[in-house]
């Protein structure tokens, strides 16, 4: 059963509109792919990003803060993290 990771806001029971699997990809490719994917989504939609890079728990909130999206938090399932991003009005 997924558990909430420490140091990030627990994600509410959000339903994602799209899923992006970046497991096994090295930094910063997951952020680049997230940026590309979010660009194709509508404002308010939620992207779920899968990653096995624990530092993404620091990078993803920073990327959201800088680009105007909302970081909704993350859940951990085994060695994978599920991060949730709501698309905002980009800066």
């Amino acid at each position: 059963m997924p558990t909430h990771d420490r140091g990030a806001d627990p994600a509410p029971e959000v339903r994602s509109d799209a899923v992006l699997d970046t497991v096994g990809l090295f930094c910063p490719v997951p952020i680049i792919r997230t940026s590309e994917r979010v660009r194709r989504m509508q404002t308010g939609e939620i992207l779920e990003v899968l990653s096995d890079d624990r530092v993404i728990l620091i990078d993803m909130p920073a990327w959201c803060r800088s680009t105007g999206h909302t970081y909704l938090g993350s859940r951990q399932g085994g060695a994978e993290y599920h991060l949730f991003v709501r698309k905002g009005g980009e800066r």
Partner: protein, 354 residues
């Protein structure tokens, strides 16, 4: 009828900047934000960042804060959007054959600046923007930040007059953004040299506290050990035939050149073992049996005596290194050989070490 004349709002000029996340690029962006400009940051991922490599190794004892992406962190702190760009294959080709040569190590600093500023100019053309800026400081770095180099970089990027260095601007010729009044030259800075005193003082004044220690020490290309391996690779492989994976492998493990055509990489710990596993492909791979052992990856096609030497080196770094003989498995695809060898002595090993 109103007697107030409507004046069109002054357009907000947009600056596209290279943001590594270090103190200089952060301050350069802040100087422009202070003047009310719109700032967009570009952070290039070159494949040679030490932080990124530590992340790929995923050692459980590493502090994640030390491995974060500093460009993203800076963008969040400054409140500016950061676009992370993959420098990709074109960057690798430049690194392998830089027009302006290398610095003391494997650092092609002038070509690297040209590559990134050129990329920023291209981004500006595609996405809008009025000029490009960087955190370069006149006289700070010996290869790429003296007056002649700064001029050369600007000229080769094809954006003459539209490249602003806010930290040293008062020592440089006025750029178009200054001449056209988009930026107030008086409020740009006149920092020169290697001392970081002024930057430290400004960071304190602006409450910028969370930044990596300034040193430029996060790039493998400027690292002495990496440079030895890099130049060895260039010496023994035609530059056009060098693949991205071969450069990635230069960052990991212990490297030994055994013959002109054979080089080996011996993992240093479990994390490196896991990392090297991903690059086994169809080549030779050695491992001592029945004990904790590094994985040894082989580049090239070793003959029988060379395979015995590789086995002896693998045995030297295994948990059975103090035993007189160690059995080592040498695998290539489905093929496996068992080789019983004494571990090589440290003295004999030195001749091969890169």
């Amino acid at each position: 009828m109103s007697d107030v004349t409507e004046v069109p709002a002054r357009r907000r000029f947009k600056a596209i900047g290279l943001i590594s996340g270090g103190l200089d690029s952060t301050l350069a962006a802040r100087v422009l934000l202070e003047q009310g400009l719109e700032v967009v940051g570009l952070h290039f991922s070159t494949g040679f960042c030490m932080n990124d490599h530590r992340r790929a190794l995923a050692r459980p004892d590493e502090d994640p804060r030390r491995m974060r992406n500093e460009g993203l962190r800076a963008g969040a702190d400054l409140g500016i959007p950061i676009e992370v760009l993959d420098a990709g294959e074109a960057y690798l080709r430049m690194v392998l054959d830089p027009k302006h040569g290398y610095g003391k190590r494997a650092n092609p600093c002038i070509d690297c600046r040209i590559f990134m500023i050129h990329g920023a100019a291209e981004y500006m053309r595609q996405n809008g923007g009025d000029f490009v800026f960087t955190g370069e400081v006149l006289g700070q770095r010996p290869m790429s930040q003296h007056m002649q180099a700064l001029r050369l970089i600007e000229k080769e990027c094809g954006i003459e007059g539209y490249l602003l260095r806010p930290l040293s601007a008062q020592h440089l010729l006025p750029t178009m953004p200054e001449r056209l009044g988009w930026v107030d030259r008086e409020r740009l800075l006149g920092i020169t040299g290697r001392s970081r005193k002024e930057q430290m003082s400004l960071s304190e004044q602006w409450g910028i506290q969370d930044y990596p220690q300034p040193s430029g020490g996060c790039c493998f290309l400027a690292d002495e050990n990496f440079a030895k391996r890099f130049h060895d690779k260039r010496e023994h492989t035609p530059v056009e035939a060098i693949r991205r994976e071969e450069l990635i492998l230069l960052k990991v493990g212990r490297h030994f050149r055994l013959t002109p055509g054979v080089k080996i990489i011996v993992a240093r710990d479990e994390s490196e073992n896991r990392f090297l596993e991903r690059f086994r492909n169809g080549g030779w791979c050695f491992e001592a049996l029945d004990c904790g052992s590094p994985i040894t990856l082989v580049e090239g096609d070793p003959d029988e005596p060379t395979r015995r030497l590789i086995a002896a080196i693998t045995a030297r770094y295994s948990d059975r290194r103090h035993e007189p003989f160690v059995e080592v498995a040498a695998r290539q695809g489905d093929r496996e050989e068992r080789i019983l060898v004494p571990p090589v002595s440290d003295g004999a090993l030195q001749a091969y070490r890169l």
